[in-house]
């Protein structure tokens, strides 16, 4: 079992493996564990440090500092500056996500086949088989009723009352204790993020992990990927450490996320018309509801209820989200005494979100200091969807008994009562009026039938190169309309099976 963390400046660290996996999140963890099970020697190279549950922070300040990529400072460049959130730690974004697990809908494989020339039923069957297995491995289950918490319960009862599809979310969490701290990392060790089982399994099977090790470049010999290089970075002091060189006998699998994978490939001189293209997202906005009784967001599954009623038409998803006090302080509009008076109501607030299945497309490129640049603006049709979704969330709150809702949209009054809903229905469609975040990301290294429509083929192999495969969210040419980690993991496990087949 080898784990190499930050190494001070000195002689370079040089290692060799059958496969290198860059990144240890949903894609990286799943592909690496799949390869290791097949007997391959895997080196996982991860930019972030390895934090165990006892190291996880509690406050959101600590979470920004210790768990998120660049303190969540990556913003979309476009009409509006919306934060793009990702993890930077062993386990990647799975460490800080809400653990929601949704199978890839069949229509996704059909749309990939129709529009990008790969996928179809054959791929669907393979991915679903992996998802069957993953669901067992990761203890995918519903949250127990006594751990749901009031906000989730209210949303669930209300969907039954309104006749709107709504369900208890299935999550990769074993016996959730309802501590509402998924975003900070699950200190109770219930959430099955990839750092808990998949990455340790790689080590148990003879692989190695380099943490605090951001890959700067993929090494090429001709058009063959033969390794990766970079320099260790200390997670606290940011001090640059020793150089590392990892060589791969069979191939390099890139799983550094939708923003970092395209940036890394560009930095490494990889050419491809579709590199950095087809970046998509499910931009989300939150609507607060104010209730008469105690909601107590810090208790309950961080996300426990969801509705897929509007996934296809008009194209949005509804979810609950228990948000810590610190984030609510930033989220509630205004400042000064009025803001503080509003914050007194924290315990009576429930926060529910709309995630828009946006058709808008952006790009990702490698910026200065290796930072990705994301260009993305939601078009007016998508903004209308987001607004419709926000209205739907507000209606759900009112049906649940909320006294008022707080949409936080510029130009809409702070507090709306049921009779005032028209203010939200007519809210501006300018993205600048909305506070949205991007948590579900897609594309940047899309798969496609040929280099005109994709950077990679249907097996994630980068066109024109050998031994170079992409296995994270960046390979998806469309968004899903459901939470992505299960699809990413299913595809990644399929990549592992194909790579093992190639070398046998």
């Amino acid at each position: 079992m080898t784990h190499i963390a930050f190494q001070k400046k000195g002689a370079p660290v040089e290692v060799e493996a059958d496969f290198i996996v860059v990144g240890s999140g949903a894609g990286g963890g799943a592909v690496a564990s799949g390869l290791a099970r097949g007997g391959a020697k895997v080196a996982v190279v991860e930019a972030g440090p390895w934090r165990d549950p006892e190291h996880y922070p509690s406050s959101m300040y600590g979470t920004m500092r210790d768990m998120f990529d660049d303190w969540t400072s990556l913003m979309t460049f476009g009409r509006a500056l919306w934060p793009v959130l990702q993890g930077r730690v062993v386990g990647g974004t799975t460490t800080i996500n809400s653990a929601i697990v949704v199978r890839t809908p069949a229509d996704i494989f059909q749309s990939w086949e129709k529009n990008y020339g790969f996928g179809g039923e054959a791929l669907a069957e393979k991915v679903w088989a992996h998802q069957d297995q993953l669901e067992k491995e990761l203890y995918v289950q519903e949250t127990a009723p006594d751990k749901m918490g009031r906000s989730n319960e209210l949303a669930l009862i209300t969907s039954q009352k309104r006749g709107v599809e709504g369900h208890v979310i299935r999550r990769n969490v074993k016996d959730c204790e309802g501590s509402g701290q998924c975003l900070q990392g699950c200190k109770k060790e219930r959430k099955q993020s990839t750092n808990l089982k998949m990455i340790p399994e790689v080590m148990e099977r003879g692989g190695m992990v380099l943490s605090c090790a951001p890959v700067h470049k993929i090494m090429l010999k001709g058009n063959r990927a033969v390794g990766v290089t970079g320099r260790f970075v200390h997670p606290q002091t940011k001090e640059k450490g020793a150089k590392f060189v990892v060589r791969a006998k069979h191939g390099v699998v890139v799983a550094a996320s939708c923003t970092h994978s395209p940036a890394l490939l560009q930095r490494s001189g990889i050419k491809g018309r579709m590199l950095g293209q087809l970046f998509r997202a499910h931009p989300g906005s939150a609507i607060l509801g104010l209730y008469d009784d105690d909601i107590n967001m810090p208790f309950g599954a961080t996300q426990g209820w969801s509705s897929l009623e509007y996934r296809n038409t008009p194209g949005f998803k509804l979810e609950t989200l228990n948000m810590p006090l610190e984030l609510i302080a930033g989220r509630i509009s205004g400042g000064g005494m009025r803001l503080m008076d509003r914050l007194k109501n924290y315990r009576r607030l429930a926060l529910w979100v709309v995630a828009c299945r946006a058709d808008s497309i952006g790009t990702v490129s490698n910026g200065p200091f290796g930072k990705p640049i994301v260009k993305y603006t939601m078009n007016q049709t998508d903004m209308a969807k987001l607004r419709d979704g926000a209205v739907e969330v507000a209606k759900h709150h009112f049906a649940a008994g909320a006294k008022a809702v707080m949409p936080g949209v510029l130009g809409v009054p702070y507090e709306l009562h049921e009779k005032d809903l028209h203010h939200l229905e007519n809210a501006s469609l300018d993205p600048r009026a909305w506070t949205s975040i991007l948590t579900h990301l897609f594309g940047g290294c899309p798969m496609g039938a040929n280099p005109d429509v994709g950077l990679c083929d249907e097996r994630g192999r980068v066109f024109g190169y050998e031994g170079l495969v992409v296995a994270d969210a960046s390979v998806m040419p469309t968004n899903l309309g459901v939470n992505p980690q299960h699809t990413i993991m299913g595809l990644a496990r399929q990549r592992a099976a194909e790579l093992l087949e190639d070398i046998s």
Binding site: S59, A329, G334, L339
Partner: protein, 130 residues
């Protein structure tokens, strides 16, 4: 204004009210010391720029060409409210950044949490596997 601009501004954004402690009763200086040591430079600069923008922008919100520290308490509070909702996008975003960081400081304060009947947070050790 004898304080650093950011401490001064954050205390105005989240002041104490009846029944709830604000940043005037929280160790913002200590928090900012950590923040300035730990946060990436662009983020620190954004917060500093946002603080100065807050101080100098009563002209935008109240049409008063004075820095905020020369205003009455009541006008300071009015400015604080309006600036968060200004139509000038970049200014609003800067304010959002300052407010978000102020929120991190305020929301983790054990006394504030106790007032809202929330459990105190365990320390953020920053530990990792060596």
């Amino acid at each position: 204004m004898s304080l650093s601009p950011t401490v001064y501004v954050m205390r105005l954004i989240l002041p104490s009210v009846d029944g709830l402690k604000g940043l005037d009763q929280v160790d913002v200086k200590g928090f900012l010391k950590d923040f300035n040591r730990e946060a990436p430079l662009p983020m620190r600069l954004t917060v500093l720029l946002g603080s100065w923008a807050f101080i100098l922008s009563p002209i935008v919100t109240l049409k008063i060409p004075l820095p905020v520290f020369l205003l009455s308490k009541k006008l300071q509070d009015e400015h604080c409210y309006r600036i968060a909702l200004t139509r000038v996008y970049l200014l609003r975003q800067l304010m959002f950044a300052v407010k978000a960081v102020a929120g991190f400081c305020w929301g983790k304060c054990p006394e504030v949490r106790a007032q809202l009947d929330l459990k105190p947070y365990a320390p953020d050790t920053g530990g990792f596997r060596q």
